[in-house]
């Protein structure tokens, strides 16, 4: 019952594997990484998430040794790695393009790093075999990269980067080239392999779903800064900014004025609309301008005004997005604002209760919304 939760970042005695200390990276005038401080712990599956150009790939390339650091230090197991060239780092990288050597067989690709260490032949043989087995590639060991499928190539790249048993494995958009179905299968495979090998994984991705699925912690980045670092659930349920709330999943953002009342804030957002109440520990500044972030699945849609709900608004259905398992209703409030509410489609389509232009009530509890200052 009491299996300890894996959360080294909450343990003050735990020593981080990687420490970014006030790291800045500039390319000419452009600041790719801006005074960034971050700890990553052993055995973590850490995701760097952000739009393209946010600096996530630069961070990874600094860890691999392909980019120098302009200011600050990066420590790997307590040692500064600024002067260690990429071929001397106990760090391996899985490239976005896989970068498999086209002139070598799958076997030789995986053995490439081991051969550079001048290991005895039988050891190399054994290790490659182990990697082939781990990634279920035994049958393809004699093939060249152009003779196997995209998914198999991805596994070869993974096997090759794991063969040297690195302390840290960097994965640059590892699943970007795979189609959706294969990507989902591979995500679980990656997690399995990460658990089996106990290697620390740092993954770079722009796909929020992927980050949420695989990672133990997610760092959301924007313009060279970390916006929030937390577990997937933390990022989703307790975003610290509108940017994070908006970047991860679907969200309703309501802008308004907060007044402290009891255990939270009453937020007035439009003339003639009731104030919305949200529980929070946050203290708003003087201006008391704030945003409410409400996930659509936490908004209940009903035909009758629900009894006892804390937050209730009325509107008309403007649009319905049918996703199969779910439907998202876009409800237009009298103020012109559109709120999204999601409901599971537990009934067949013909018996669905709402349609376009219906008057409906939206309601949510006082803990559903997150109060954000910016």
């Amino acid at each position: 019952m009491t299996e300890p939760v894996f959360a080294p970042w909450d343990d003050p005695n735990e020593k981080p594997l990687i420490e970014f200390k006030n790291v800045t990276k500039r390319f000419g005038d452009f600041t790719a990484i801006d005074d960034l401080t971050l700890d990553i712990y052993e055995r973590e599956f850490f995701a760097l998430l952000g739009p393209s150009g946010c600096g996530k790939t630069t961070m990874m390339r600094m860890l691999a040794g392909f980019e120098t650091i302009t200011e600050g230090t990066i420590l790997l197991s307590g040692k500064n790695i600024a002067r260690v060239p990429p071929n001397r780092r106990a760090v391996n990288m899985m490239f976005q393009s896989y970068a498999l050597f086209p002139h070598l067989t799958v076997w030789d690709n995986i053995a490439f790093g081991l051969k550079r260490e001048k290991l005895p032949k039988d050891q190399i043989e054994a290790r490659v075999q182990e990697m082939l087995k781990l990634t279920r590639l035994e049958k393809f060991s004699k093939r060249k990269p152009h003779q196997i499928s995209g998914g198999q190539r991805q596994r070869v790249a993974l096997a090759r980067s794991l063969a040297k048993a690195p302390k840290l494995l960097l994965l640059d958009e590892p699943l970007g080239a795979l189609d959706k179905k294969l990507r989902q299968d591979t995500q679980f495979e990656l997690m399995d392999i990460q658990e089996k090998t106990g290697t620390t994984f740092v993954i770079v991705t722009h796909d929020q779903e992927e980050a949420m699925t695989v990672a133990s912690r997610v760092a959301v980045m924007d313009e060279g800064r970390l916006i929030q670092v937390a577990t997937p659930a933390g990022i989703y349920e307790m975003p610290n900014t509108v940017y994070v709330a908006d970047f991860i999943g679907d969200v309703n953002i309501i802008e308004g004025h907060g007044t402290k009342t009891g255990d939270g804030y009453d937020v007035t957002f439009a003339e003639g609309q009731p104030a919305l109440h949200a529980k929070t520990d946050a203290q708003l500044g003087e201006a008391a301008r704030c945003y409410l972030a409400i996930r659509p699945e936490k908004v209940t849609i009903s035909a009758e005004r629900p009894d006892g709900a804390v937050n209730v608004v009325q509107g008309t259905i403007h649009d319905i997005a049918y996703l199969g398992n779910l439907s998202t209703y876009h409800v237009e409030l009298p103020t012109g604002q559109i709120l999204k509410a999601q409901a599971a489609n537990t009934r067949r389509l013909s018996r669905r209760s709402f349609t376009w232009e219906d008057k409906v009530w939206l309601s949510w509890t006082d803990t559903a919304a997150v109060v954000l200052e910016r």
Binding site: A64, G65, F66, P85, P86, N87, V91, N92, M93, F95, Q96, S97, A99, F101, P102, H103, F112, G113, R116, E117, H146, R160, S161, K164
Partner: protein, 296 residues
């Protein structure tokens, strides 16, 4: 039907411009010299009918080929041509590879300029360029004057009219043929492959030998053939830059043809030269085909 025409065009081209001339040369090589115009017998004459045709074929023999084996001039010339062609191909490779590598490493906006610089010499007549090398390499030439001026040498070097000058000429002339295919191969090379090699423990030099060189192999092979094949039959360069001791089959062929007016022997020399060249040409084509298959 459309496919037939598409295939027919290159085949017609080959037939008219390669096979028919070759058959004519082969026929002359089987003929005998004669003091006439054209300077050989027999000539094909359809007015003689069937008997005439029969007489024509019975007059053809392999005599000229036997003659080539009787005089050691010919096989020595072939051998020395092969040697000069091989050596200058290797020299062109050593000079051309770094240039191609440099071009492939250059910034994107520089590449067209560099490419043009490589091709630029072709805009001037080949003959003029070879003549200008005479001006550079001769005893009073720019090279000797410069070296004498710097004090590196006290006596002018004798370069012109030696095999060294022939190597210089061949390497200079055919260098673009070496550079361009290697550049094409290196340009395609994905930079992340080198990063991957480094990431897996290679030094930069190891990565070059283990990744860059194998992946530019096809470019190297193509470049080597493109230099070797024309260099083997080269005539202008050895006759202008080489000395009397420079023995190359192209020169021998010229002398047989124009000085001795012995068309049959000259043709026999040409036929054998072609036989020697067919081997590398077939190898070259096989390489190209393998490359295409690998890219699919």
């Amino acid at each position: 039907m459309r496919r037939f025409f598409l295939i027919a065009v290159p085949y017609a081209w080959l037939l008219v411009l390669f096979l028919i001339p070759f058959v004519i040369v082969l026929k002359i090589s089987l003929s005998d010299t004669a003091l006439s115009i054209p300077p050989y017998t027999p000539t094909l004459d359809f007015s003689g009918g069937w008997a005439g045709l029969k007489a024509f074929f019975s007059a053809l023999d392999l005599e000229n080929f036997w003659f080539l084996t009787s005089d050691d001039l010919y096989w020595k010339a072939y051998l020395s041509s092969v040697w000069i062609a091989v050596a200058s191909t290797l020299l062109a490779l050593f000079v051309g590879y770094p240039i191609a590598y440099g071009m492939a490493q250059a910034r994107d906006e520089w590449r067209p300029t560099l490419m043009m610089l490589v091709i630029l010499p072709f805009w001037t007549s080949f003959l003029i360029r070879v003549y200008s090398w005479m001006g550079i390499l001769s005893q009073e030439g720019f090279l000797n004057q410069f070296l004498l001026w710097t004090g590196i040498i006290s006596e002018p070097l004798i370069i012109l009219n030696t095999n060294t000058a022939v190597y210089v000429g061949i390497v200079y002339t055919y260098l673009p043929f070496m550079i361009l295919p290697i550049y094409a191969a290196l340009e395609k090379l994905d930079a992340s492959l080198l990063e991957a090699a480094e990431d897996l423990g290679c030094s930069r030099i190891q990565a070059f030998w283990l990744v860059t060189v194998p992946l530019s192999k096809n470019g190297i092979i193509a470049g080597c053939f493109l230099v070797f094949i024309p260099a083997l039959g080269e005539f202008v360069i050895p006759s202008l830059l080489g000395g009397s001791q420079t023995l190359m089959i192209g020169k021998v062929l010229w002398e047989e043809f124009f000085n001795n007016r012995d068309w049959p022997v000259a043709s026999a020399v040409a036929v054998i030269l072609l036989m020697i060249l067919i081997i590398p040409i077939i190898l070259f084509q096989r390489n190209e085909q393998k490359q295409r298959e690998a890219e699919q």
